[in-house]
Symmetry: none
DNA sequence: GGCTTGTATAAAGATTTTGTAAAGAAACTT
DNA sequence: AAGTTTCTTTACAAAATCTTTATACAAGCC
């Protein structure tokens, strides 16, 4: 068993099916998403080793999805697209795509290109466990520990914490966090954030009243250090 | 100047010329080889950051050249080939090529693919940091430091400081600053500015009474140096 | 000097933003 | 269907930030 997980993002069920079968018969683990929102949530909750991203999604422009993913997702992304214009290709590659295949593509070539990008990304042997002082976060198994003790986080708490961790040191605006976690229509619901930040602090900080990891940037957002 | 060196391996002189011009005009350094033997010697003597390899060389099969190179050469190799058969593509990718472009290819796409593979091989994600003496400002992370120490700025202070930094040396008028930060209806509230300039000086200057960075231009505005 | 104009700083007051608890709603479990 | 967990919403307290006021200083000019 390969145990390498690939996330397929495509709105056409036939293509997902075809890809799933192809990949599974080559010993990859597969997860699927049929739209942009689902793709981002899946990628954040359970980051795959590679993402196959169709640019023609129903709910959002594929280039935007790519940009959003690349804000934190560092593993390979291969674009599968019906568009073969140079403009699209250059834009996607410059937005951080590792490869770009035009549909319809040849299965053997796709598999070879997958092997290629996985090879060049795995040589950096990325440790899926991030360590911040006494806090560790194992992205692969979705486990957060504080001084070896496992901390139980709800799905939303974990997504929020992941985002903060992956952007260590950077300020993430309320706007951005709300959009990433709850979706674009929630960008004014800052109260949600406060509640969940408070919950994270209660679970993760030594002294929740004087947080040392999750820092408030008043008027702007939050920062993780 | 980019100073990234690329080795072009192709037996056709016109293609080498064309590639050389394209790459040089995009700030890459270029070296050339016209056959397999030369290619391997050049790569060994002076390893480039990337190799563009034509598979149709006169003295040896391109796939063999690729294999030989990959025995020790770990940086990106992009194949340029007239053959578009799946067999060739898969074989090249599995032999360690990072990408495979079929001739004739589009220049913009080639450049984008070069950027892509260079990016994923060099993976230094440096965020731009502006440095002014002992003051540094990290725009991506929204962090200002004075002698390595993080200085906590409020939202408005930071916006003001950014404006000054981004216009280093220039005088920014009261009018302009007020308009940018508080909006057009505040252009007469110069007192606001004085308060915030004073606060910035208190936090950032060695001696706030004798500022060396944030300079008053009496009657006009402020200047940052 | 006395006057005016522009600037600097501290501190009080007002406002905005953030933190916390807790209740109600919704979604899952068993 | 009852119980549990998680999410959403409300209300209020606490903290941080912004605005305003008061006062002082410095430079230029009559």
């Amino acid at each position: 068993m390969n145990s390498v997980e690939i996330l397929i993002v495509d709105d056409e069920v036939q293509i997902r099916k075809m890809l799933t079968i192809t990949l599974q018969s080559n010993d990859y683990k597969v997860s699927e998403a049929s739209n942009a929102k689902e793709a981002i949530i899946r990628a954040a909750n359970h980051p795959p080793e590679l993402i196959l991203l169709d640019l023609g999604l129903p709910d959002e422009n594929g280039h935007i999805v790519l940009q959003k993913l690349r804000e934190w997702y560092t593993k390979p992304i291969i674009i599968l697209s019906a568009h073969s214009s140079e403009e699209d290709i250059v834009k996607a590659l410059d937005n951080g795509a590792n490869d770009y295949l035009v549909k319809p593509f040849r299965t053997g070539e796709l598999l070879a290109r997958i092997r290629s990008v996985l090879r060049s990304s795995s040589q950096e042997d990325e440790n899926p466990i991030l360590i911040f002082g006494d806090l560790t976060i194992d992205l692969a198994s979705r486990v957060v520990r504080k001084k070896e003790e496992i901390v139980k986080l709800t799905s939303t708490e974990y997504t929020l914490f992941c985002l903060l961790c992956k952007n260590e040191g950077k300020v993430l605006t309320h706007h951005y966090l709300l959009k990433q976690i709850w979706g674009p229509s929630y960008i004014n619901e800052s109260q949600y954030l406060r509640v969940f930040i408070a919950q994270l602090r209660k679970k993760l900080e030594d002294d929740p009243n004087h947080p040392t990891h999750i820092i408030t940037e008043s008027g702007v957002g939050y920062r993780f250090i």
